[in-house]
């Protein structure tokens, strides 16, 4: 079992500049932020290194941070019984992240979900389709600027009140 500081240190020694930021000391959510281009190598190291052995991908979450998206990988090791998280940041204009499907089988559906709801493209994913929403849905609902569609498949969205809140309206979040 390694503590988060040791894990971050191992990553910094192994990958140096690719680790952009780390938040491990007395943190409720110990994680490091890594360069998106080295993500695959870093994940491979975390999975295969004997002291890391992160064999379990708990979840992948996309977070809308305005100009950029954060993609969060929450991982755990059954062998060593420790947990950690990896973050990477991609620009809103072209959110492309390498897929980690070949490392963890669980990534397949989590990446599809993140693509579906957040619109982040996972390069190298074998089957990147929408998963929760219909295939012909427009837009990605978990983005902060998402507006409700006026209609879907001939069904109109009816509102009893014009002041009905639309999550895409900015002031709702402020």
């Amino acid at each position: 079992m390694a503590n988060p500081e040791e894990i971050a240190k191992a990553l910094e020694t192994e990958f140096k500049d690719a680790v952009l930021d780390s938040n491990v000391k007395n943190s409720k959510f110990p994680h490091v932020v890594v360069e998106v281009s080295r993500l695959n190598d870093i994940c491979k190291f975390l999975l295969n290194d004997d002291h890391m052995a992160f064999d379990f991908l708990s979840a992948i979450a996309g977070v809308d941070k305005g100009d950029e998206f954060e993609v969060v990988y929450i991982i755990h090791s059954y062998l060593r019984n420790h947990s950690f998280a990896i973050k990477t940041r991609v620009p809103r204009s072209g959110p492309r992240v390498p897929s980690v499907c070949d490392l963890w089988a669980a990534a397949n559906w989590h990446e599809r979900e993140t693509y579906d709801l957040m619109g982040i493209i996972f390069e190298g994913h074998p089957d990147l389709r929408r998963i929760l929403l219909p295939q012909d849905w427009e837009g990605h609902p978990l983005r902060k600027d998402y507006k409700y569609p006026k209609s879907y498949d001939g069904i109109e969205l009816r509102r009893d009140d014009d002041n009905w809140p639309d999550p895409g309206d900015k002031e709702l979040y402020e």
Binding site: S58, Y78, L132, Y173
Partner: protein, 373 residues
């Protein structure tokens, strides 16, 4: 292509099919009766809960967590409450911790009753399902006296629970456990040790521990493959460290394959007994006192993020919550056990019979609201 050399048929299964445990659809490619490909089509119950969470105050999302998994509402409530409590550093009174464990374990029993009963009914044995429902009904009665609801309990609050146990409730609970514990044996005589049932399941779709971990299986589905991991023991929360219980794992029961549908079923039966054991200990030790901590009405957790996981009947349920210091969360990601189980099925079902697919779904105890969120 197979030895039969028949044409590949494309068949539709669901979304409204009695054995798919909710609205789930499969696109099957079959060679005779053998499955070549089973592509799950999910999302029929997608309500956008993660988006809803961003629009509500922290406490306001609690009733929605009931709908995450309506068979185990308290466990979901607890997951959400615990995430926010850890984020905002809220201490929960001891009596509330005990009430939470009692409610959560009672809910685990009722959820497993449905799981084992419906697997039996999927396999063509209807009587066990009725037996399980009969015993579950009494749990619903207990919950109704406790919090006024029979399905979506909305029992946990941030910092505690909504209602104290009414007078005489603990005695009624104790009576129920005295009644139900022998009924587990009756249930076992009826179906678990039934030769037809055992033979039907014990070699179907085994999944190795390594594959189960890679696919992210959790809870009884993972333990069925022989991995002894339970968040209540290995990453404990609440008062679980003070309670004594075992973690049952799959053993290849009845000389079957390790990690088969029967092993997962058996883990659930054994977990029912462990839950009874846990509730009995809580009944003995439950202290008097407050049931909810003092939490500001307009709760604003400090800026930060957290991933908090708890052991629900369908395994690890994790809430990844990002707070920006405002009364509403910036992002909530919910990780559930059924989602992982469902993603495994395509790989696992290949080469098995259509009738076995029903056993695989039932064995995983997949439930649609948790899958689609």
């Amino acid at each position: 292509m197979s030895a039969l050399n028949t044409d590949i048929w494309t068949l539709n299964m669901g979304p409204q099919h009695p054995s798919t445990h909710g609205v789930i659809r499969f696109l099957l490619k079959t060679d005779g009766e053998i499955i070549e490909d089973a592509d799950p089509d999910i999302g029929f119950l997608h309500r956008g809960l993660e988006k809803i969470a961003e629009l509500l105050p922290y406490a306001g999302f609690m009733p929605y967590t009931d709908r995450l998994d309506y068979l185990a509402a308290v466990n979901m409530n607890w997951g959400w409450a615990l995430s926010v409590e850890r984020l905002a550093d809220i201490e929960v009174p001891l009596r509330a911790e005990y009430l939470r464990v009692i409610a959560a374990e009672l809910n685990r029993i009722s959820s497993h009753q449905i799981a084992v009963g419906s697997l039996a009914s999927d396999m063509g044995a209807f009587t066990p399902f009725v037996h399980a429902i009969r015993d579950r009904e009494m749990i619903n009665d207990l919950f109704e006296s406790l919090c006024g609801s029979r399905l979506t309990f909305n029992y946990c609050r941030i910092g505690g629970v909504s209602h104290d146990a009414p007078e005489g409730w603990i005695e009624r609970l104790s009576d129920y456990l005295d009644y139900y514990e022998p009924m587990v044996d009756v249930f076992n005589d009826l179906i678990t040790n039934n030769k037809i049932f055992v033979e039907r399941l014990k070699k179907v779709a085994p999944i190795s521990a390594q594959k189960a971990i890679s696919y992210g299986l959790v809870g009884p589905n993972l333990r069925g493959s022989g991995v002894k991991f339970d968040l209540r023991k290995d990453d404990p929360y609440g008062i679980y460290p003070e309670l004594e219980f075992d973690v049952p794992v799959g053993l290849g029961y009845h000389e079957g394959e390790l990690g088969s549908c029967f092993d997962k079923y058996m883990v659930r039966i054994e977990e029912i007994r462990e839950s009874i054991k846990i509730i009995r200990q809580c009944i003995e030790r439950i202290p008097e006192g407050e049931i909810v901590a003092k939490v500001p009405r307009n709760l604003k957790p400090p800026e930060g993020e957290i991933y908090c996981r708890t052991e629900a009947p369908r395994g690890e349920v994790g809430f990844y919550v990002v707070s920006n210091g405002s009364p509403k969360p910036e992002r909530v990601k919910i990780r559930t056990g059924s989602f992982a189980a469902m993603s495994t099925i395509r790989d696992l079902a290949r080469g098995w019979m259509i009738a076995d697919l029903v056993a695989i779904i039932g064995g995983f105890d997949v439930i649609a609201p948790e899958l689609d969120r």
